[in-house]
């Protein structure tokens, strides 16, 4: 514990260095804007802005990108409360009671409670991350190919089980991602696979063109500019502070949202989306006045907003300790670190202590910055929302092109982005969530290599995954989840996905 505190102190010395603090500030500010703008989610925002970090060192790059990530979680609440438009998916639940509070003249209070809850959730998440990640990384050093294979299989099954679309849809998206991830030179044999004599495809398809295409361009194609403008409720500065009664009503939902969000955040899948939904459902279930939900219940804002920020931080535990991305966003962050020559995994904490501890400490700093920044700047963000969408989306397309082209200076990547934009548009039409596709793309090389190495190690015996304690445990959890999923699938049970779809369609029943 003492060494952890000493390392954290070192991290603060890195994070509070003026240049690094500046990039944390910039990341938080841009992230909030990304969260505020409908159509630009955190994934597209981080991917598009990746080239901006090329001139920075690895520590500054990850500090800034992480700032964009959790800044966007904060920013998403602004549009949810003021316009009833979720800036990003995890803010869907905040729309219901946040907008209802705004209609009652309590927009400022709703924003303040969302910001404070987000700060508490985020800071608690970082505290646990600080304590848990280093020892977990030490355990992960014992992982061999069978353990990594079992962990990745578990990740995929968890993703399918917990994802916000149906089980089969998620698995199909993951398969498509895995197939895309196998394009290029096979690392173990040197064979060219599915590259059609294009030298640019030799290194495979990058995550940035796919993520920007699916989530940036795809979203723009699905959002016609006509009808994109809605009424915006402008909060007054003097109304920003909640009353004592509102604080009392928010206290316990914030506490529950923090714990719930962090635990769910560690699990692979669309964790922050799930956590906000579950938090809302829990608060409504245990409330003494469930009839107030949907009409401006403080708990309906405090719980989900806290939970989605705690989950965002929780997602960094497997990323930093195991090098395993649990969501497309953390996958892009891994890609960003690799561009800067830093391999993410159990060795990160020892090989790059400046990056690891500087990043962890910057999250404490960043969360505080967001709390201090967001409330006074809410009027500025509201102003941004007044820019007509017809003028906004051409700008976003330009940033998509810059973001993708600058990674490899390759127009092939930009063409891939364009194709992925069309694919993303079509997937939305058929109710597919593209997030598992990106995750499949990222883990494909790791999964393939570890699976093949495991089989070579065992001379082709699949029982290797059941003969080593860690991989056996992971495989048993996978099998358990598959049984649970099959049970719900076969019996057509209504699960949380169906309920979320109802909420998104405008029904508040949970």
């Amino acid at each position: 514990m003492e060494s952890t505190l000493l390392s954290l102190a070192h991290g603060f010395s890195v994070a509070l260095a003026p240049a690094n603090a500046w990039y944390a500030f910039l990341g938080c500010l841009v992230g909030t804007l990304v969260g505020v703008l409908p159509g630009v989610g955190p994934l597209a925002g981080i991917s598009i802005l990746l080239p901006v970090t090329f001139g920075l060192n690895a520590t500054q790059a990850i500090i800034m990108l992480a700032g964009i990530y959790y800044g966007s979680q904060y920013g998403g609440s602004t549009t949810s409360i003021l316009m009833r438009i979720p800036g990003e998916a995890s803010s869907v639940m905040t729309c219901i009671d946040g907008y209802a509070m705004a209609k009652k003249g309590r927009a400022g209070a709703a924003l303040c409670i969302a910001a404070v809850g987000s700060w508490i959730g985020g800071t608690f998440g970082v505290l646990v991350l600080t304590v848990v990640a280093p020892p977990l990384a030490t355990i992960a050093l014992r992982f061999g190919p069978p353990e990594y294979t079992a962990l990745l299989v578990l990740g995929l099954i968890f993703l399918a089980y917990m994802s916000s679309s149906s089980l089969i849809r998620t698995l199909l998206m993951a398969c498509l991602g895995l197939l895309l991830g196998m394009i290029g030179i096979d690392n173990m044999t040197g064979h060219f696979r599915y590259s059609f004599d294009l030298a640019e495809l030799g290194d495979g398809i990058g995550i940035v063109p796919v993520a920007v295409g699916l989530f940036g361009l795809g979203e723009i194609l699905s959002t016609p500019s006509a009808g994109a403008v809605k009424d915006i409720i402008s909060p007054r500065m003097r109304d920003l502070l909640p009353t004592r009664k509102e604080w009392n009503e928010a206290a316990m939902p914030i506490t529950r949202g923090t714990l719930l969000g962090f635990i769910i955040g560690i699990i692979p899948g669309s964790a922050h989306i799930i956590s906000s939904f579950l938090s809302y459902a829990v608060e409504k279930r245990i409330s003494k006045h469930p009839e107030q939900f949907g009409k401006g219940a403080v708990a309906g804002v405090a719980g989900p907003e806290t939970a989605n920020n705690a989950a965002s931080t929780g997602a960094f535990v497997p990323l930093l300790a195991l090098g395993i991305p649990t969501s497309p966003i953390t996958a892009v962050l891994i890609g960003a670190l690799m561009i800067h020559g830093v391999s993410v995994g159990p060795t990160l904490v020892n090989e790059h202590p400046d990056v690891f501890w500087g990043f962890v400490a910057s999250m404490y700093v960043g969360n505080l910055m967001l709390l201090v920044l967001n409330l006074p700047l809410v009027s500025l963000f509201v102003t941004v929302l007044r820019i007509p969408y017809a003028y906004l989306y051409p700008l976003i397309i330009m940033f998509c092109i810059i973001g993708v082209y600058e990674v490899n200076n390759s127009t092939v990547d930009v063409w891939i982005m364009l194709i992925m934009g069309v694919v993303g548009y079509a997937l939305r039409k058929f109710d597919f969530d593209p997030a598992p596709l990106v995750l499949g793309l990222v883990i494909a090389p790791i999964l393939e290599q570890s699976l093949r190495q495991s089989l070579i190690m065992s001379n082709g015996n699949y029982l290797i995954f059941f003969s080593r304690p860690i991989s056996l445990g992971l495989m048993m959890i996978s099998i358990g989840l598959l049984v649970l999923a099959a049970y719900a699938f076969v019996l057509h049970r209504t699960d949380w996905r169906t309920k979320l779809a109802k909420v998104e369609a405008g029904e508040t029943e949970t």
Binding site: I168, L178, L179, T223, F430, G460
Partner: protein
């Protein structure tokens, strides 16, 4: 039986799986003790076919194919077409010229904005972005025939 959205989606994914298997013909599958480069792609392709089949078989739960909304398709197609032209011109004309033309075209052709505001906006935002990237962030952008 009416055609459902998941019938179409399921058949599409079955097609993707079959295509991958067809394209994997020259990739060695290897053996269990020494898997080749075609080993995992073929497994995933078979899984894709299987899941596509399940999706198609359970398609009755999905919306009718005719109910899939395509009202925004014209807008989307125009955005894709204009962006594709910009991508094709990007390395020839460079960052500044291509993006000014891209934004101008999107505003005038698709959004029917007036010429003067569209011109001022497209030049303004692209020049500011260029200065931001090239000078403040020191990230070089693609140069055109005139050096910018």
């Amino acid at each position: 039986m009416s055609l459902r959205a998941d019938h179409v989606a399921g058949v599409f994914f079955i097609g993707v799986g079959l295509l991958v298997i067809a394209l994997s013909g020259d990739l060695p599958t290897g053996t269990l003790s020494m898997p080749g480069s075609g080993f995992l792609p073929k497994i995933v392709a078979v899984l894709t076919i299987f899941f596509g089949l399940v999706l198609a078989l359970r398609a009755a739960e999905s919306k009718p194919f005719a109910a899939v909304p395509w009202a925004d398709a014209k807008h989307a197609a125009m955005v894709v077409a204009i962006t594709a032209v910009a991508v094709a011109l990007f390395e020839w004309l460079g960052f500044l010229t291509t993006n000014i033309l891209l934004i101008f075209a999107l505003l005038v052709v698709i959004e029917r904005r007036r010429l003067l505001p569209a011109t001022v906006y497209s030049i303004g935002v692209v020049v500011v972005t260029y200065v931001l990237f090239a000078y403040a962030l020191k990230t070089p952008l693609q140069a055109g025939p005139l050096g910018f």
